[in-house]
């Protein structure tokens, strides 16, 4: 019982500190920019539904899913443990009688509602701003956005427990791997999480009017395989992060 109390305290502490961190204000920047874009673009006014759906989907794929979602995950996932490591306050947690596994889960679970809440909430809002085609796109792309978000959160937690400068590594991954390699021809893009998310989005959107991508540029895998890949990445990253955090001596704290 006392362990549960300690764990919920840690969960609440982590959530509260993340929520009121500078990251929250900063991630609102890209979210707001997207919203302003959608308002200016005015998808709801368009008459050609097929073309508009295509445009809306491409925006969601290449701006929201490929840029905003990983940036939001970086902001919170690296700050949850990485921030404590950087500030050296992790020490105060590691000398308490809370098993390291539970410390890790408290940090991970505190991050999830923030990332999922912001990403899903923003996605819902954007779909509303998209009018009819937005409403049609919402259920189609929601699973992909969800799976991508948790995959990013897990992966960046793995970076946070493994590397001293995890923010740098995560940002290199988010800005270089995801943006550059994720948009290169060939199979190199499979190193990017957004490849799997976009595969799911193509699989869901093509039957509803989304243009199929050029095969030489982007060959999507099936939605099931992509979803399994994302779940696999999530679980593998979580498991490795747990093992690392359980065994790691953080000599950089004092």
């Amino acid at each position: 019982m006392s362990l549960l109390r300690a764990w919920t305290t840690l969960l609440w502490l982590s959530f509260r500190r993340l929520l009121w961190s500078g990251s929250t204000l900063m991630v609102l920047l890209p979210f707001t920019a997207c919203a302003l874009f959608l308002i200016r673009r005015g998808f709801w006014k368009e008459a050609n539904l097929f073309e508009t759906f295509n445009d809306f989907s491409l925006f969601m794929m290449f701006v929201f899913a490929s840029f905003v979602v990983p940036i939001c995950a970086v902001a919170y996932a690296t700050a949850s443990i990485g921030g404590d490591r950087e500030d050296r306050t992790l020490l105060f947690l590691l000398v308490r009688p809370v098993p390291r596994v539970l410390i890790f889960f408290a940090k991970f679970i505190a991050t999830l509602p923030l990332v999922l809440g912001l990403v899903m909430g923003a996605f819902y809002l954007y779909c509303r701003l998209g009018g009819d085609i937005g409403r049609a796109a919402y259920p189609l792309y929601l699973p992909a956005i969800f799976y991508m978000s948790i995959a990013y959160v897990s992966l960046f937690h793995f970076f946070a427990v493994s590397f001293r400068h995890s923010t740098i590594i995560a940002l290199i991954y988010a800005l270089f791997m995801e943006l550059l390699l994720g948009n290169m021809p060939g199979i190199v893009k499979r190193v990017a999480i957004n490849y799997y998310g976009r595969s799911m989005m193509y699989a869901a959107g093509v039957p509803h009017g989304l243009d199929r991508p050029e095969a030489e540029w982007f060959e999507p895998i099936s939605a099931t395989t992509a979803a399994l890949a994302l779940v696999g990445i999530t679980l593998a990253a979580l498991l490795v992060a747990l093992v690392v955090f359980q065994r790691r001596e953080y000599t950089d704290l004092t």
């Binding site: 306050t89 000398v95 308490r96 098993p99 004092t254």
Partner: protein, 305 residues
């Protein structure tokens, strides 16, 4: 409750942090002294379960220090100046209390008690970001005392505290020691904690070079050169007589008397007794200048090189 190091060695890659250390630290206040880089912090980190020994075992009571169970039994004051800066002192200590699994009401009560104990009751509503170094040291001590642990591991707890505060904290630590708690205080300045400690561990280059009470350690160092000040109105004559003493290393004549350095203190004191009685020399004062903790420490440090 005992803190046990059993043949503990810790490597940082190719560098050795502590080397084959074995000791048992029991109730009372024990000072852990050593120069910077001697291995004090490594020893503290091993004891507080932040590091695992490369060889050997560190135990807190019956539990391995790395284990979660061991962490119930000690409070730790780290030698770092980082906090959740946005919190107030009270909030910080309260959260730390909750992390021990205390109920809200118990945590609140206990927080108020320890904040009072460390003398921060009137400033507990301050944000940690705006606290001075001394206040932060007190808050670190408060969070270590929060679960009333049988073992306290204090890494440089008095550094940065003003003399008045130091007296208060020292009284608090003495009271904790008298309750039968095991307290390990690390410091690189012996004078700072000399008066507090019942016994000391002196560490140099990752090894324990001496342990016991200061007088015990001093007694073991009989053959160590000793500096003695002798005040006498006949200091010139005394100096001339002392020159014949073979164990004498150096004599310095000063306006107030003599400063003598001897290789063999025991033999020197016997010799000077006989000399004074035989020659009727008046001695106003005879005192050893480097019998204190610092001198012992410096000597041991030099010896370990």
């Amino acid at each position: 409750m005992l803190l046990t190091f059993d043949q503990v060695t810790k490597f940082y890659g190719p560098v050795i942090g502590v080397n084959n250390i074995s000791c048992r630290i029991g109730p009372g206040i024990t000072g852990l002294f050593g120069a910077n880089g001697a291995g004090k912090s490594t020893l503290m980190k091993l004891a507080s379960g932040q590091l695992r020994p490369s060889q050997g075992e560190v135990k807190v009571g019956e539990h391995r220090a790395w284990s979660t169970e061991a962490k119930r039994h000690f409070g730790y004051v780290p030698d770092l100046n980082s906090f959740y800066e946005e919190m107030t002192c009270l909030d910080f200590v309260y959260v730390m209390a909750r992390l021990y699994g205390l109920k809200r009401s118990d945590a609140r009560r206990r927080t108020a008690e320890v904040i009072e104990e460390v003398g921060m009751a009137d400033r507990s509503g301050r944000k940690l970001a705006g606290c001075s170094h001394g206040m932060r040291q007190r808050i670190k001590l408060a969070q270590a005392l929060i679960n009333d642990p049988p073992i306290l591991l204090l890494d440089e707890p008095l550094s940065g505290i003003d003399p008045g505060g130091r007296r208060e904290i020292s009284r608090l630590l003495v009271a904790q020691g008298e309750k039968g708690k095991t307290i390990l205080i690390s410091s690189h300045i012996l004078g700072e904690t000399e008066s507090l400690t019942d016994s000391v561990l002196i560490i140099a280059r990752g090894r324990i070079v001496a342990s016991g009470t200061l007088s015990e350690i001093r007694a073991k160092l009989e053959d160590r050169p000793l500096t003695v000040e002798i005040r006498s109105p006949q200091s010139r004559r005394l100096a001339a007589l002392l020159v014949d003493e073979p164990e004498l290393r150096n004599i310095e004549l000063r306006p107030t008397g003599l400063i003598v350095q001897t290789r063999n203190p025991l033999r020197f004191f016997t010799f000077i007794n006989d000399l004074v009685a035989k020659n009727g020399i008046e001695i106003e004062q005879l005192q050893t200048l480097d019998g204190g903790a610092d001198a012992v420490f410096n000597y041991l440090q030099q010896g370990s090189r």
